[in-house]
């Protein structure tokens, strides 16, 4: 049962070339497979998710990826991304911004209603934004995205005017995220418990029922109107219904797919993907998430990483590529950028990140860590070169945890000690909030390069009342701040690209992070399922054009 190892080495050289091309050109979020044969209407799709069951089906509340996955079926957004990765209006028709950038006007498409009969209009959108900005909704992602809105005014039925505190050129990108999806204002007026159980939207499916820990039942929206007629087939969805199940165990999930009990699974593990490649009955959808790449942040706020030489040394002391080769079976491509490869504005610099233990040794010696103790680790003034690395078991898949273990073993050769702490999510956040870490891997999914401000602006080191802060490498660089401020408010696309590129260069050359790969988002599905591949802007699959064959 050993896997043919050449699979990985064969793919790798091709993969680097591809990655380079993708980075330069700005790749598509996912490939759409248009299967031949005429679509069959009917059937129930069973989707098995490996993520934790959401505690609320309304993505306004909280705002995490499992919510986005399921909400993408029954809610729609003002903007979305087309198959080429371009931002296009969806529930909105058009949008303009004033000269000074402080007033944004959004035109809402007419003729669309929510499944409870309420019409989609400017007042409805305003009600949604108010819901998101209301502290008692407890939105995190959506709240941040709309943070610069000062006031809103529904000028007429189809026009919404937003007054901003400061120019925000990532607003439309924010509008494309399921966490800012548009729900029926009538439904929003209900109690939170009611709305969490069955949110009402405009999507091709609607929520019928939710049996906790069992499944969510979605049925076809018989009154669905495709906002952009060119974007898909005419009429309603082919599928009768979708059953959304939660199967946290990877092996069980894959076994269920093989047994035909479910037709599509997410969070597919690398070895399952590799096995499925040989199985013609199972197909693979690779949809990397937008926003940041999957990276390790180096805490520059305290020793030993407050010294850039030590940061650089650490990066050269670990052999990420060898680990990715052996652990990911060719399903993950190495990233050298702070941004995901699906971001058109991603900037990468491979030359900074080579495995070079000799250079690491030189840098550490120069930084004063020339002595070693009896266990072989470097010491300086009696202190060992020791790095604490809290790892969240819910955010790092087993292959990634093994990758960290391999880094631990390789870093030891250069005299660096890494202490890995496996923690549950709450305890993991606890370590971060008390600044009790030197290394951490924290994914961040967001549409657009604006995520760079969230991750690297010095304002992001200020904790929220809960203790949360996003700038985990704790970069506090005034020149970087200035770059990010201008990049986030300029109306000139070329200037935006240039400034964000410079910001990424600064962050990479400061060795504040070690990019690993894209945020992995792999789906495996039965070959009976046709026309799979359409995704939202956050790489969640949608099934409007999908049909079940035999």
């Amino acid at each position: 049962m050993t896997l043919a190892r050449p699979l990985a080495t064969k793919l790798f050289p091709a993969a680097t070339a591809l990655a380079a091309a993708l980075v330069l050109a700005g790749c598509t979020p996912a490939t759409t497979t248009s299967d031949s044969g005429s679509p069959v209407t009917g059937g129930t799709l069973v989707y098995a998710s490996g993520d934790a069951e959401p505690s609320c089906l309304d993505p306004h509340v909280g705002g995490n990826y499992p919510q986005a996955l399921v909400a993408s079926q029954y809610l729609e957004t003002l903007y979305t991304k087309d198959a080429d990765g371009k931002l296009i209006p969806w529930l909105a028709e058009d949008s303009t911004v004033s000269e000074d950038g402080l007033t944004r006007t959004v035109k809402i498409r007419g003729g669309i209603s929510f499944t409870d009969g309420t019409a989609l209009d400017a007042a409805a959108v305003k009600a949604n934004f108010e819901h998101l900005l209301n502290p008692s909704t407890a939105s995190s992602t959506g709240y941040l995205a709309l943070g610069k809105i000062a006031s809103m005014n529904a000028v007429d039925a189809t026009t919404l005017e937003l007054k901003l505190k400061a120019p925000d050129n990532s607003l439309l990108e924010s509008f494309s995220m399921p966490w800012v999806a548009i729900e029926s204002p009538t439904a929003l007026a209900r109690s939170q418990a009611e709305n969490c159980a069955a949110p009402v939207g405009t999507g091709p499916f609607k929520v019928e029922s939710w049996k906790k820990q069992d499944s969510v039942k979605l049925v076809r929206n018989a009154g669905y109107v495709l906002p952009d007629p060119k974007a898909g087939h005419a009429g309603t969805a082919y599928l009768d219904a979708i059953t959304w199940r939660f199967i946290p165990e990877a092996a069980t999930r894959y076994a269920a797919l093989q047994a035909g009990e479910v037709q599509i699974i997410d969070n597919a593990q690398p070895d399952a993907i590799a096995a499925a490649e040989k199985n013609t009955a199972i197909k693979h959808l690779d949809a990397p998430r937008p926003g940041a790449s999957n990276r390790i942040e180096l805490n520059s706020s305290k020793a030993p990483f407050n010294d850039v030489k030590v940061r650089e040394a650490f990066i050269h002391a670990v052999n990420v590529n060898a680990s990715i080769d052996s652990l990911f079976f060719g399903t993950a491509t190495r990233s050298y950028s702070p941004l995901s490869s699906v971001e058109p504005l991603a900037y990468s610099e491979e030359s900074l990140f080579g495995y070079n233990p000799a250079k690491a040794g030189e840098l550490l010696d120069a930084a004063g860590w020339g002595q070693r103790d009896s266990a072989g680790y470097r010491v300086k003034d009696g202190t060992r070169l020791s790095l604490t690395f809290p790892v969240s078991t819910s955010q790092s898949i087993p292959a990634e945890q093994s990758l960290f273990e391999q880094m631990q073993a390789t870093a030891k050769e250069s005299g660096i000690e890494i202490k890995i702490k496996l923690l549950d999510l709450s305890s993991w956040y606890g370590e971060l909030f008390t600044n009790n870490y030197n290394l951490v891997s924290a994914p961040y999914t967001k549409v657009g390069p604006g995520v760079l401000s969230i991750l690297f602006h010095s304002d992001s080191t200020v904790p929220a009342p809960s203790g949360y802060f996003a700038n985990l490498s704790q970069v506090k660089d005034p020149s970087l701040d200035a770059l990010l401020n201008t990049a986030g408010s300029t109306k000139d696309e070329a200037q935006r690209k240039d400034l964000y590129g410079q910001a990424q260069k600064k962050v990479l050359e400061g060795y504040y992070l070690l990019p690993l790969y894209n945020q992995q988002n792999h789906f495996l599905y039965s070959a009976k399922l046709k026309n799979v591949g359409a995704t939202t802007a956050v790489a969640t699959p949608t099934f409007f054009d999908t049909w079940l064959g035999n």
Partner: protein, 297 residues
């Protein structure tokens, strides 16, 4: 998963009546060996793993932490006796070197559990009616709480790690042992020997320390060996939930848990650590049963 241990028939049990007829002694050495075979095998198994715990490099000179990504997922064979894991580490070596942390966790957890149980059981058995009642109620509450809940809450309190695992498992197994010990002490307290001592005017402390405790400790050996296997299983389950010894420790439970991901790819990653756990737990059980029958109870 907390096991109260084998049921020791108490002095008044209706079944502790007749001794079987004296067995005819068979002079054949083969027969003698066959009867003792399980005990011999168990003793050998336990000695092997004890040696692995004490001097692992003697049995497995290869470094258990040495990664070799090029050789990941190698099947058992020449090169690697029991195969390699996802980082190319030798599994045989990891099992041998993992004996110490695994057995230590098991032994320490059992010690904690028994220690706590000894205190509780003695107070209950020897301290008079009200103390007995009080401790009895405490024990009942501890029994009523699901073991895993106790362990989870404790780990959430103190953070995951070896010492936390040890204390958590000790806490969950203590109530069962406490009940055993209490029953034992009560039986001893009402025995003719102690009655005689009381009549002779010996102080309560003397009776407790000289007459009762030493005799109560004998069945403890039985419980301890049985508990060892259970403690290792508990610790393995906590590792499965991600709450055990931190990586890269070659602890059996952690190996079992991380190998599970690759079950269809590399069955040897779970089979051999699992086998080690089962062997130790089973051997400990057989040993404890032999001790019990030797004890005559």
């Amino acid at each position: 998963m907390s096991i109260p241990g084998p049921i020791l028939p108490t002095a008044g049990s209706p079944l502790a009546v007749q001794k079987p007829h004296a067995r005819r002694r068979d002079p054949s050495v083969a027969r003698w060996l066959a009867a003792r075979l399980p005990l011999i095998v168990s003793a050998v198994v336990l000695l092997f793993f004890a040696l692995a715990a004490i001097a692992p490099f003697l049995l497995a000179p290869v470094d258990p932490l040495a990664i070799n990504p090029a050789q990941a997922f190698s099947a058992p064979g020449a090169g690697h006796l029991l195969g390699t894991d996802e980082s190319g580490r030798d599994i045989y070596s990891r099992i041998i070197h993992g004996a110490r942390p695994s057995l230590l966790i098991g032994a320490a957890a059992t010690a904690v559990g028994l220690g706590l149980a000894l205190v509780l059981g003695t107070i209950a058995g020897f301290g008079g009616r009200w103390l007995d009642f009080g401790v009895g109620r405490v024990l009942e509450v501890l029994f009523a709480l699901p073991g895993l809940l106790l362990a989870l809450v404790f780990i959430a309190l103190a953070g995951p790690g070896v010492s936390t695992t040890v204390i958590a498992v000790g806490l969950t197994t203590a109530p069962g042992y406490a009940r055993m010990i209490r029953a034992q002490i009560i039986a001893l307290r009402t025995s003719p020997m102690v009655e005689a001592a009381t009549v002779l005017g010996r102080s309560r402390t003397r009776i407790l320390t000289i007459h009762i405790l030493p005799n109560a400790l004998a069945p403890l050996a039985v419980l301890a060996t049985l508990g060892l296997g259970q403690a290792i299983l508990w610790a393995a389950s906590l590792s499965f939930l991600g709450l055990g010894a931190p990586p890269p420790a070659p602890e059996w439970g952690t190996m079992l848990s991380s190998g599970r991901t690759y079950l269809s790819l590399a069955w040897w990653m779970t089979f051999f650590p699992g086998l080690a756990i089962v062997l130790v737990a089973a051997a400990a059980t057989v040993l404890s049963r032999s001790l019990k029958s030797a004890d005559g109870r």
